[in-house]
Symmetry: C2
Subunit: 695 residues, 2 copies
């Protein structure tokens, strides 16, 4: 029965459907590693011990971001840009750790982060059977999706109760598999060392997603347990020999999302609906923030974090969008999908099982397209309505309503296992700047009008007969959610307190949130449910033929990828794999030391002491995507040789398909880092601690 379409399917798969187009691609599961490929290509075998060791030495930094434990005393390495929020929150008047960096002279000087939890993935369990069993008797995809959501919530809560481990069910292959990831949480995390922002982000938004680079994008924290440094069972050893040109390198971290398995219709939806809508908002906000920051040094200081965030996202999505406009990318996808569909159609049994999945998904996409703009505007994770004050009012309002419901009926982010993180967000003491809030609110309210029209009932209700600027002023003047005591009262008081609060921001949430919730519900029922069902069925084609050989799309969970340390291009336009300290000084001089190309005075002073030929940054072909920032780069022995902090523009196409022509991930070299710690920062104790962990 299978034989009939076997050749066509093989052709389809080798042309790129599901499987990475080339070797080295993919973000692999640690419990389903690419053993065969590694053996065939590199003669390397990853033992179960190697995998468990690496898994338990890696760290999820807060809600996103990657990191790793790199010493016997719980030292954690990540990017400065991943630790940036913590470093900012630890700054005080007269102690600007972003501007100046930090180096704890002794353990006693290590600064405890106010509201940070990091997670170590302890074990993984396949719960596909349990999740699907819950949905077995459902009458429709929507009902099944609901049933699965409840089952997932139950499994996560049970994990917490049973083991004390933080449980998260990861949906793999877009719904074909469900794995329960069980994390050890650590909430006493202290800052050990950070460079000045200007060194960590040398080249700033200008050089972001570019190469060559010269950034010291690293920071060290330490996990404490019971008031003492953690003595971890597993930590990564430092690779003293450093990174070598051509060497096989592994990257282990938390890539947020890839979309390599999307159908062609789905890619077209991204290209023609989702991305243009998002990009429009990003360009707009980027220009607004640039103008905000232009107005004074003070506003620049306040607005820079929002600005860099928007620029980073915008750069990523322009890259994704350009990849979808590249006819070669879409053509490969179309050819592979046509071959696969033809193969399935050729077999009546398979046709009846999988054949309608593409068209069902297309219908759901067409329907979603009719409300995608409004949904993403009011409820999407990049909704413009996500300023500090609105965000606080929204969390307080929703928490009051959700806490009344049984755990598994709640919105995901208000379920029991999430409450600790929610509390930290609600009671964050991070400064709220009125000027920036005003700018965000005016922008968001205007955006509603621009996109929905000035007479849209929601716009009219949100503006309360005021212009966006006047309304923003009023919202700030007549809200006290910036006040911690107000937050405490509303958080503890529940529905009654929230409903009787005379607070303009709570009031605005009350105006908008019913529409936002309704759209979320609609999205889940009409799109997500169908999408999950369709992709689960499409994944089956792959399992049957390939034995699940291709890894699932990234999902923010721990993954392993691999590739070579390799430059690209040929002389005279060759880009070598490594940069050196010498290049840093040259680039700064070339840009006349103007920000973001200005050097920390410590680097100016250290210049005579440094070996300028020291390797500083390097590139690899290992597939990396947003969320991988902070991932360690390991050699075959599992030793740290670098620290991922970026990818180049061409690598944004990895979101859809792997290529290694010019696409590269970018890392800080481990030797450059240690050399800088010793000779620029005099952080010998830290350097010794890393060296002490060396193999």
């Amino acid at each position: 029965m299978w034989r009939r379409y076997w050749p066509a399917l093989l052709a389809a798969l080798s042309a790129g459907y599901g499987a990475p187009a080339l070797a080295d691609g993919g973000a692999w599961l640690l419990n389903d590693p690419p053993n065969k490929l590694l053996k065939d290509q590199y003669g390397v075998e990853l033992t179960p011990e190697w995998l468990e060791h690496v898994q338990r030495a890696c760290v999820r930094f807060g809600r996103g971001g990657s990191a790793s434990i790199v010493s016997a005393d719980g030292l954690v390495m990540t990017n400065h840009h991943i630790g940036h929020d913590e470093i900012l929150k630890l700054s005080r008047a007269g102690r600007d750790l972003v501007e100046n960096g930090y180096c704890a002279a002794t353990r006693a000087d290590e600064l405890r982060c106010e509201d940070l939890t990091v997670f170590v993935l302890w074990s993984i369990a396949d719960v596909t059977r349990q999740v699907n069993a819950a949905a077995a008797s459902s009458a429709s995809p929507a009902e099944a999706n609901e049933a699965r959501r409840r089952a997932i919530a139950r499994l996560e809560a049970e994990c917490e109760q049973r083991s004390g481990l933080h449980g998260e069910v990861v949906t793999l292959y877009r719904g074909a598999l469900y794995h329960l990831y069980q994390y050890k949480p650590y909430d006493d995390v202290r800052l050990v060392w950070a460079p000045a922002f200007r060194s960590a982000s040398f080249g700033g938004d200008v050089d972001n997603f570019e190469y060559p680079r010269y950034a010291l994008d690293a920071a060290f924290f330490r996990i404490y347990e019971n008031g003492a440094p953690l003595k971890p069972e597993h930590y990564l050893r430092w690779g003293r020999a450093g990174a070598q040109e051509g060497e096989l390198a592994f990257v282990v971290g938390h890539p947020y999302q890839t979309q390599q398995s999307l159908t062609v219709d789905h890619l077209r939806f991204l290209r023609d609906v989702e991305y243009p809508t998002l990009l429009r908002r990003l360009w707009r906000r980027e220009a607004q923030l640039l103008n905000f920051c232009d107005r004074s040094d003070e506003l620049l200081r306040i607005g820079l974090s929002d600005l860099s965030g928007v620029r980073n996202t915008r750069k990523a999505f322009t890259g994704y969008y350009q990849a979808l406009l590249d006819p070669a990318v879409l053509r490969r996808k179309i050819e592979a999908e046509q071959a696969l569909r033809a193969a399935v159609a050729a077999d009546p049994a398979q046709q009846s099982r999988w054949g309608d999945a593409w068209d069902t998904l297309k219908a759901a996409l067409d329907n979603y397209a009719t409300f995608q703009r409004r949904y993403s505007l009011l409820e999407g994770r990049r909704s413009p309505l996500r300023g500090d004050l609105y965000g606080l009012a929204l969390r307080l309002t929703r928490y009051a309503a959700e806490r009344e419901k049984p755990n598994e009926e709640r919105l995901e982010e208000y379920r029991d296992p999430e409450l600790e993180l929610l509390k930290r967000e609600v009671f964050s003491t991070a400064l709220i700047h009125d000027a920036l809030e005003h700018d965000r609110l005016q922008s968001a309210l205007t955006c509603l009008a621009e996109e929905l029209g000035g007479d849209d009932p929601l716009v009219v209700a949100a503006l309360r007969k005021r212009s966006p600027a006047e309304r923003a002023t009023q919202l700030i003047a007549e809200s006290t959610v910036a006040d911690l005591e107000t937050r405490r009262i509303l958080f503890e008081g529940g529905l009654k307190e929230v409903q009787t609060a005379r607070d303009a921001m709570i009031d605005l949430v009350a105006t908008i949130d019913p529409a936002a919730r309704a759209l979320r519900r609609r999205y889940e029922l009409e799109f997500e449910a169908v999408e999950r069902d369709a992709y689960a069925r499409l994944a089956e084609t792959q399992f049957v033929i390939q034995g699940q050989q291709a890894p699932p799309d990234a999902t923010g969970s721990l993954r392993l990828s691999y590739g070579a340390i390799r430059g690209y291009g040929a002389a005279p336009a060759q880009t070598p794999a490594f940069t050196t300290f010498a290049g840093l000084y040259e680039r700064a001089a070339q840009r006349r030391h103007a920000p973001p190309f200005d050097l920390d005075p410590r680097w100016e002073a250290a210049r005579p002491r440094l070996d300028l030929a020291t390797q500083f940054n390097f590139i690899t072909t290992a597939q990396v995507i947003g969320g991988n920032s902070g991932s360690p780069v390991l050699n075959g022995a599992g030793e740290v040789i670098g620290l991922i902090f970026d990818i180049n523009l061409d690598a944004l196409a990895w979101n859809f398909a792997y290529t290694d022509q010019t696409a590269r991930s970018i890392a800080l070299d481990g030797r450059g880092l240690v050399e800088a710690l010793r000779k620029v920062y005099g952080a010998d104790a830290l350097a010794d601690e890393l060296a002490g962990s060396g193999g």
Copy 2:
């Protein structure tokens, strides 16, 4: 018959329909000045001699921009930002007039502008009867519009043939009146003096549309006739006493466009369709250009002009848009329109004559909304497809086709009177920068895809199976329209040369232009024709009741406005009317002399010599809008006391309704200008020439 709705109409008009909401508003015709208002409010009378003198001393600078003749030797005063393109074109390697400014030591050193014509409005004739007569037998608004277009083309061509004067028919009251403006053109114009760009634009894009200001936004040119300085019959005398707080001030110039007479439906169309579409493109392009300019000093130099243009337009349209989101603005319009409609409806004869105008217009707007995005994308004056190379290829292609037609059948900008200007554009020797062209082209091609979708046939055809970046590279590599000889061959060779040209950019125009032309045709037939007919009829209501008391919306033709020199607000948030030289130095210090707040070294050096209390910039309540830049500010005696160069953000609302609470136009003070000429620039001859013209 009239009495029945008289009271209601009066109420409507006093509430703001058509007429400016408050005194001092409006851009008045020089042949229909606000004599009664001026007499009642200020006891001032403008004699026909005063008006003719001022009219013939004012200058239209190129296609837009205002200026005036200010000496017996044909000296012309305008803004630096109006003369900027000319100053740029006169720059050479080693002679950067933008960076350093210019001061002609003698008349022989005055630098002739390469392709600039300035125009003096010599006389105005009412041609309403002729234009309407041509359309009298038309069967539909569309046909009537066509007939009027042809009549206008004929009248303009006849004017040129008859008198040698450049004729332009100005459509007033959106179609109720047609006036033939007859201009004396002067094409030998020479640069006399310009400050450094940094002084002219002190505060740059940051302070644009803001006040207080400290900008020396002035430049002087001289008209030559037969190789000698023009001895004008009329020139404005310099007001030695300068501008005084509270003084009545006149502004005479070429406001480009206002929209005070639009119907409520039309305002909603702007708010919900036209402005969001435009703003989206502007935010996007602004962010892109900021990133382009960020990449290096060289790219900043190349891209700054595009960037400033986009920022200026974006700031203006965000201001217009915010005004339309101000409920007070729209409410006044709604109330006035409702009252007027009720009054008209109350009289059967009037109802049958005017009653359907609002709904007819609304239907046309609804229809236009269905193709406005595509029209503005491909053919609107702010189409992203307006880079240098595409613009050249478009002009060459269209000229080849249009020259085959009778004059009055051509697209307006290819009619005989326009050909001189067309030639100058086509044969401009201004540098074309590949890097900027690439950025523009990639942006424009991507914009087509973002807005029309990646599978739109036009997008597919325009991209030729390449990504936008690759296609942009190819277009530049495989086009020679940057080459003047190519342009000459195509311009002179006509259709045959263009059709057989093997030029990628000509080819891209051939792909896009049929669609662009079809959209323009559709716009003209389905919208513009109906719009003109509807507004012509709506204007009748005003003429009948008010005797045409309110001035027509601005149309880029010469207008007079008036108001007081006055600050606003109360202490401690008071904004005084005047700034001084002292404020310039304070602002520069406050922003640590970083661009755009850096001082020309001449200003640093001159500081001890200057009277720091000298008035530098000031504000007035006289209504001004884009196009008024470069307008002289006159006192009651018709003497120059200032030079308009900007308005504040609140004054952008003047586009829709006049207000004088906080809305202000911004001018350079005549005394500050002369003081700077003498003491900062040592331009005593120029200062003497101005003083010599003093009253």
